[in-house]
Symmetry: C2
Subunit: 366 residues, 2 copies
């Protein structure tokens, strides 16, 4: 190893680190001048600023985040607390993609994302409180929004810049970004109705989450508007729930001719049940998913899905959070507003065909 073997200061780092004092000495100015110069603030002449910058580069100076934070500057970190077990997060395609999108934007702005996994909503709120007291983060991003979520009043009280992912509604006075699930629902229902389906079922995920609830409502009301018979089958989350739910739907006398699943994982699981039962997709049953992914694309037939890219969702959330954090320093601005992501429908073969006429084994003809 090329590193010096003599004992170095605690932690790490080879030799003494370069500080603004070193730069100041070389430049023949005070460290305050250096601070102003490197932070692009007025107070030094252009000539001195240039000289200082050159020396900083030459000395390979890097600012100390700790010193900056201690002196009151932003810590350039945002936090996200997850009150779900690693097992659940790890198996959900949405999580990885969302985080990747967040990271991409945050990294570009020299921000980092601090994540923490806890096991209850109370622990989540306690973490926000602690992060604020420690000045560990400049803001937080709140996910998995629920109806009447206790985190919202807690955060409103805390004066910690926060962005809620989810809505509309139920995010109190906090800024939010969300995908318009009602619109997505209408896209799906309209598409299936157009294809001639008159009995459409929704295989619904965990209804604790607000967006699931919003889909339920939009689904029922849109079906009714179109004179279509809506069925909502609760499935909890995950593949297994979707299998059971699909089987239950198939067993009905008036079995639906089209199924909409809340996630790509659920859709796949449902498809397998359909195939096993001998149904063909889309000839016997049409299938669509609220979540697009490599899986929906790869499946045979490829599955019609809502093009809400989780990566893009992450990017939008990160950009919005950075705005919110920046606004927190400024005089109270108009940062409360929500931002909506408009979903699109990607039509694929799984809904390519009209349902075959029902050969009278019960159920109301449309």
């Amino acid at each position: 190893m090329a590193a010096s073997t003599q004992s170095r200061p605690r932690g790490s780092g080879r030799g003494r680190r370069v500080t603004i004092a070193d730069i100041a000495e070389r430049a023949g100015v005070t460290s305050a001048a250096v601070s102003l110069a490197v932070n692009g603030r007025p107070g030094v002449s252009d000539a001195t600023r240039a000289r200082i910058m050159d020396i900083a580069r030459e000395l390979q100076w890097e600012p100390s985040p700790a010193a900056r934070a201690l002196a009151g500057a932003p810590v350039l970190t945002v936090g996200m607390v997850l009150a779900r077990p690693a097992e659940v997060l790890g198996t959900e395609a949405f999580f990885g993609a969302f985080v990747a999108g967040l990271q991409e934007v945050l990294s570009r702005h020299d921000y980092s994302l601090q994540m923490k996994i806890v096991d209850s909503t109370e622990a989540e709120i306690a973490t926000y409180r602690r992060w604020l007291a420690q000045r560990r983060v400049d803001g937080v991003i709140v996910v998995d929004l629920r109806q009447d979520d206790p985190r919202i009043p807690a955060l409103e009280d805390l004066a910690l810049p926060a962005l809620v992912v989810g809505g509309p509604g139920h995010h109190g006075s906090l800024p939010s970004v969300y995908v318009d699930d009602a619109h997505a629902t209408r896209l799906l229902v309209d598409h299936l109705a157009e294809r001639g389906h008159r009995r459409i079922a929704r295989v619904a995920g965990n209804e604790d989450f607000l967006h699931i609830l919003l889909r339920d409502r939009a689904f029922t009301s849109r079906c009714e508007e179109l004179g279509v018979a809506p069925v909502v089958q609760n499935a909890g989350f995950g593949a297994h729930g979707a299998e059971v739910a699909t089987a239950a739907l198939l067993a009905r006398e008036d079995a639906p001719t089209a199924l909409i699943f809340d996630s790509d994982e659920m859709a796949l699981a449902g498809c397998h049940v359909l195939e096993e039962s001998g149904r063909r997709i889309p000839q016997d049953v049409a299938v669509a998913s609220y979540e697009d992914s490599a899986l929906t694309l790869t499946h045979r037939p490829p599955i019609t899905a809502i093009g809400r890219s989780a990566i893009e969702y992450g990017r939008v959330a990160a950009n919005r959070l950075l705005e919110v954090v920046a606004a927190a320093d400024a005089p109270r601005g108009t940062s409360q507003e929500a931002r909506v992501i408009e979903p699109s429908l990607i039509v694929r073969d799984s809904t390519a065909q009209a349902p075959e006429p029902w050969s009278g084994r019960g159920g109301t003809p449309a």
Copy 2:
């Protein structure tokens, strides 16, 4: 909002924060004594320590990470740089699960994970250098190990505690954790050979990565030991590559009777091609995957897979990294060693059956 509207110190936080000076004053000791007490270090009597702790709790004191870091204490953060676009990361099931496993362990130890996405290996190395200079992290975790990886010598030089995920070999003098891919390969090949397969193909991912290369080698040599004809079909990563590769294999005169895929995503894509071509799994072709997931389990038939849980891999890596970081403070210990994760084989229906006798359309009979 209940928060005070009067101007508060820059950043955030309501009112003046509680410091060890406040505790010291209340307890009638110096702040040094408080520091010793709250950090569980000797130097204060048990009685004073207890009194100090009580007051700290009462005042809801939280240590300032910035002040601690500036004073030389560990920053309680580890870093991970990813030199892959968010798009790729986001669609890979492994990433989310691995991160979830890392986070679970790190969170429990009050460590946080700092991630950064860059677009080249050079940028990755530059990031390590910068993080070290800034004292931003206590250590880093290196993923996506390649043959003769330039990051290894760079990190050996940098005296930044680092854990390599990958191996064996090619991690230089750095500690490493890895899944024994050679062993996994033998498990798969042996299983298929036992089932009577004599023409086995490996649909291989991106061979830039060391673990893919190690699988290739182990695959060929094990097949030869067992008198089985090995075929390695390069597919790059992702679903599309796997489809093309599978189709190519099926087109061969001596088409294999068993296919091993490098990931669950690839396996699913391959299965769809098989199904489209009219092949039945496992009657006509057996399928196995190096990566287990909800998808391999949900598929019909369920797919035989290596039980290398990405979440568990993340947990092991996190624990090992924490050891490495702790060892960096201590006199140079024996932290260079590698730690191996032993994979297991989960047999499912996709390999349930012996291949049907080859009705003489070419190829060498076994």
